[in-house]
Amino acid sequence: MAPPVVPPLQLLGKLGAGSFGEVFEGKDVVHGRVAVKVMSRAPTETEAEWDQRKAGLLAEAQSLSAAEHRNVVRVHSITEVNGGDSIHLCMAHCPGGSLQTCYEQGPMSLQAVRKVATEVTLGLDALHMRGMLHRDIKPGNLLLDSQGVALLGDFGLVTDRLLLGYGSGIGYKDHIAYEVWSSAQTSQKSDIWALGMTLYRLLHGDRWYSADPAPRASVPAGGYADSLRWLPHVPGGWRRMIRKMLNDDTTLRYQSAQQVLNALSQLETPAWRVQVNADSVRWELPVGDRLKVVEWSWQSPRKHKWVAWSEPLGSTGRKKTLGGCNLLQGGRQTIKELEDFFEGC
């Protein structure tokens, strides 16, 4: 038998798995390389509920497909397969992968986080203006295209019912806003909360973030923004912005993505490279032909030390001490001294 003139969408290797299905690399006759999200009926879902969700997915896919934006992953098509028990959502392939990988590797630079944040906030703003919500903003749903531009992915796949339902076991419950825990109602402001949580995680990396209790345990009690532990190089402007995004009171949070864009534009972005280890943190900042280095290490919660120096990037020149403590000291004192040091840089 002759092969079909128009071959069907081919599923290739698995790219990853998310809250609501698996993502495969695909080959499409029109778009070439694509990403295909395969979503299936959940074991707990009734047929009526699944039909309702499919209808919602179709509506979202239709509006996304029609409303293209530079910072939102393009949806090409949606298809019902396996006798209606699965949905194939065919989207633009983002070869840069998701920011989950960057997050797991460690803290991103302030410059990189601001770039990503500005780009995805542009996408979020556009979608909010169309009356849509994301409901699932997290590092794994921020994707990088071939030019390194950040795009919002998995838009519109989550409903309020699913947010606090079966799909929550995969980890994104940590991005649920304070008011959603009691009201189960999402809004533009709960998207802004999730964006704030995402930025905090990208700035600190997985090791630092995971050392604290998961937000799902502490956010419902309130006051989460005040409990955040910051890496000392993160400037005050960043802290104020993220705390505002994570304010329990929705009237005190940024009211729109436009306001977030304004805040992002005013942030300082010193180019420290940061590495968080099990018992130390190291910062590096190239300045001209020298490298500034800061090291903070600890032996126990009460025994910390830090030292900062600059050294030549080439073979000539001497190492110069910039600061530090002579004796082991408490963690709080060390963090205070480090914050003062970074502020003075």
């Binding site: 530079r70 770039k115 500005t118 542009l122 703003d125 556009a126 304004n262 534009s265």
Partner: protein
């Protein structure tokens, strides 16, 4: 039928943006939908200008404005050309380019508005609270944004 217009006034690295719904009948006040100041991103100017272009184009596309009114560059013949003035002109150029990629753009010179709109000059209208009470409705218009809103008001007579 009413239409949605946006106006921009650039001053230094600040961009004042006003969006209003403009009724067909010039006697009806314009309805303010958006009034904010965008600040050029801190740090290197090249990525900051690029981001401003993206933001401006995306915003205007999503707001579906019918046209953009831009305060024209102006300088007295005796004015000294400073770096700040040139930087401000860069910002204005980026906004004009971004807006023109999405919709129709019209630049309006302040002195021309003063000559062609009403009997007073623009600065006098800007200071007149009762004028703005009569001319606007809807969202709050900041006093500092009146010059931008004036472009929209004046365009109705043009």
């Amino acid at each position: 039928m009413s239409k949605r217009l946006a106006s921009f006034v650039v001053s230094g690295d600040d961009v004042k943006v006003v969006v209003a719904q403009v009724p067909a009948d010039p006697k009806d006040p314009i309805s303010i939908e958006y009034d904010q100041t965008w600040k050029l991103q801190s740090g290197d100017r090249e990525p900051a200008l690029c981001m401003l272009h993206q933001r401006c184009a995306s915003f205007l596309k999503e707001k579906q404005v019918a046209a953009v009114l831009m305060k024209a560059s102006a300088a007295s013949p005796l004015a000294k050309v400073t770096l700040a003035l040139l930087h401000s002109a860069e910002v204005r150029g980026v906004v004009i380019a971004a807006a023109a990629s999405v919709t129709e753009v019209k630049t309006m010179a302040k002195n021309v508005i003063s000559r062609t709109y009403g009997e007073r000059n623009v600065d006098e209208y800007v200071k007149d609270d009762s004028f703005w009470t009569a001319q606007t409705t809807g969202g709050k218009l900041r006093a500092g944004s009146r010059e931008a809103a004036m472009l929209i008001v004046a365009s109705r007579k043009a």
